[in-house]
């Protein structure tokens, strides 16, 4: 019961924070919509993108990038939560959270789940707008994709949490953008099929395959077409568990990064 109270407390705090920053929702939606409407227009493949699984026929570029843009929403959210952790630490509100009698790992996982919930809501808002713009999948796909979205949000949130245990100051956050967000985004199958990448460079293609974000995007893409991609699930699930484990370790006052920082 105490766990439940604690979890709802964290969830409500995250929701409140999200609600108070409504501009965050708008910016979270504007970013992928810019890609969908502007970038895809420039890249327009009115004559069709070659067929690759899970697609069963020719598609337009807009249809191709929707799963990738859903991933991007969650990638930015994961990093945003990392930013807010650093901010909380600097402002002292994290101390309040960490004084809770609940195990720290529970607090961190609660925070992750709350963040994943908000991420998933934003993705569905994006899907709704894409639907209105006539970029549509089969209706059942929007239900099947839900577990894939939650898992991806957890993985990226955990990555953000892990990073936040390393970042000492808010100013360092720009580095995260440069060294984490953009490489993860561009070295993935979000914007282009990987066979295109392989045609231009084999080692870039290999890098893309090592990128867990690629697998998360493919998991979402297959799920949207009611298909299951075992490799993508294995990689995404594995990375999620690894990132959560490392983040909990990173926040452990006895061993982790936080202590070293305080000590130094």
């Amino acid at each position: 019961m105490a766990y439940f109270t604690c979890f709802t407390g964290i969830l409500i705090r995250e929701l409140l924070r999200f609600w108070q920053q409504r501009s965050r929702l708008i910016s979270a939606l504007v970013r992928p919509l810019l890609w969908l409407v502007v970038f895809a227009a420039g890249f327009r493949a009115a004559l069709g993108v070659a067929i690759i699984p899970p697609y069963e026929t020719y598609i337009t570029y807009e249809v191709y990038i929707v799963p990738g843009l859903a991933g991007v929403i969650m990638l930015f959210n994961g990093m945003q939560s990392s930013l807010s952790m650093v901010y909380d630490r600097e402002m002292g509100s994290m101390k309040v959270l960490l004084t809770s009698p609940m195990p720290r790992s529970f607090l961190l996982v609660s925070k992750l789940l709350a963040g994943a919930f908000i991420s998933t809501l934003q993705v569905y808002a994006f899907f709704a707008i894409a639907w209105l713009l006539d970029v549509q999948a089969e209706p059942i796909g929007y239900l099947v994709v839900l577990p894939a979205l939650v898992l991806t949000a957890l993985m990226l949130g955990a990555l953000g949490l892990l990073l936040s245990s390393f970042i000492k100051q808010l100013e360092n956050f720009a580095g995260v953008m440069n060294f984490v967000v953009f490489p993860m985004f561009f070295l993935s199958s979000a914007l282009y099929p990987l066979w295109k990448m392989q045609e231009s460079s084999e080692w870039l293609y290999q890098l893309c395959l090592f990128n867990p974000f690629t697998h998360a995007v493919e998991l979402i893409r297959f799920a949207m077409y009611s298909q299951f991609n075992a490799q993508a699930l294995a990689v995404t699930l594995g990375c999620t568990l690894a990132f959560i484990g490392l983040a909990i370790w990173g926040y452990d006052p006895k061993r982790g990064m936080v202590r070293r920082k305080v000590g130094g």
């Binding site: 009115a46 004559l47 067929i51 899970p54 069963e56 020719y58 337009t60 298909q227 075992a230």
Partner: protein, 326 residues
């Protein structure tokens, strides 16, 4: 790594459930592959290729006899129309066809084939029973499209270079009249009641609706797809639904099939299919439309009720014609 295909499983379950009370009428589509000299046979229910059959050189136009016992194949580079036994997929014999047969049409009497001979500017009429040529009619240069009116009185041939529809009286086998249309007419299709003829002009980029009593153009349909250059819009194959609701027009290298309201002639939608879409055929009681995509070597399947492309199936090299056997 797609171990388990949920979608297909769901479809199979649905199909098996539906199959119990009323057997699903699976139809069979035959696709001629111009460059691999084969026919690809597709089950229109599972949408899988079930067989590939070797035929003569450069098969293009294909058509069934009315009882679906025989399949006539224009083997252009073998200069013959081949007759295939549909039950065994064996070629029985060749019909005399004149040079380079490309498209043809079967008269409602189930006996006379009207064949366009692209290289020699004639239409050859062949009796499929006596296997003899019964007439040759001079027409314009590069004859191509062929259609017989539902009442069997008229045959229309299009000539790609003369840009005309040639009206041939089937009782006398004489050319009676011509209708000038836009550049490079490729294909003609009669409406179900025979009152109108739809004729596509490949280079003109238009489809003309011609009244069969006046033989004048009633209306011209033009096409415009955002992001696709006008020159790429080259209408070829035409199919009209039996209920008179839609016309589907294959737009060649524009890789789209236009959906047209068959009453108002308004273009309703453009559906993305494979590269260089050429001919069309309905399947499963007009609920599906199959398209041959020459350059990408595949066949796209359109759900006629939803107006959506549901699947694209790999065929041979340069699929050209398609017909469906119930």
């Amino acid at each position: 790594m797609n171990l388990f295909n949920v979608n297909r499983f769901a479809k199979l379950t649905m199909v098996s459930l539906l199959a119990l009370p009323a057997a699903v009428q699976a139809e069979t589509a035959y696709v001629s592959n111009e460059k691999s000299d084969t026919l690809t046979i597709i089950d229109t229910d599972s949408l899988e290729v079930t067989n590939t059959v070797d035929v003569g050189m450069r098969p293009r136009g294909i058509i069934f006899s009315q009882d679906y016992k025989y399949l006539y194949i224009c083997a252009s580079e073998s200069d013959a129309v081949q007759v295939m036994d549909v039950a065994t997929n064996r070629i029985l014999h060749n019909l005399p066809s004149g040079e380079d047969p490309e498209q043809f049409a079967l008269h409602p009497n189930n006996r006379h084939l009207y064949i366009a001979n692209e290289d020699s500017a004639v239409v050859t009429v062949v009796d499929t029973e006596s296997r003899t040529v019964i007439a040759q009619i001079d027409v314009g240069i590069e004859p191509e499209g062929m259609a017989v009116s539902p009442d069997g009185k008229w045959v229309i041939n299009t000539s790609e270079t003369t840009n005309m529809l040639h009206w041939i009286d089937t009782s006398t086998h004489e050319l009676v009249d011509n209708t000038l249309v836009d550049q490079r007419p490729r294909h003609v299709e009669f409406s179900k009641d025979g009152s109108l003829v739809w004729a596509s002009a490949e280079i003109g980029g238009t489809v003309a609706i011609v009244d069969t009593t006046t033989r004048q153009i009633n209306h011209t349909i033009r096409f415009k797809i955002p992001g696709v250059h006008r020159d790429k819009i080259q209408p070829v194959g035409i199919k009209l639904t039996d209920d008179g609701k839609y016309a589907f027009i294959a737009l060649g290298p524009a890789n789209h099939v236009a959906v047209v309201d068959a009453k108002t002639y308004e273009v309703l939608d453009y559906l993305l299919v494979g590269r260089r879409v050429w001919q069309l055929a309905f399947a499963d009681n007009h609920s599906k439309l199959l398209t041959t995509n020459g350059v990408s070597g595949d066949v796209s399947v359109i759900d006629v009720n939803k107006l959506k492309v549901v699947k694209t199936i790999k065929a041979g090299r340069y699929p050209w014609g398609v017909v469906v056997k119930p």
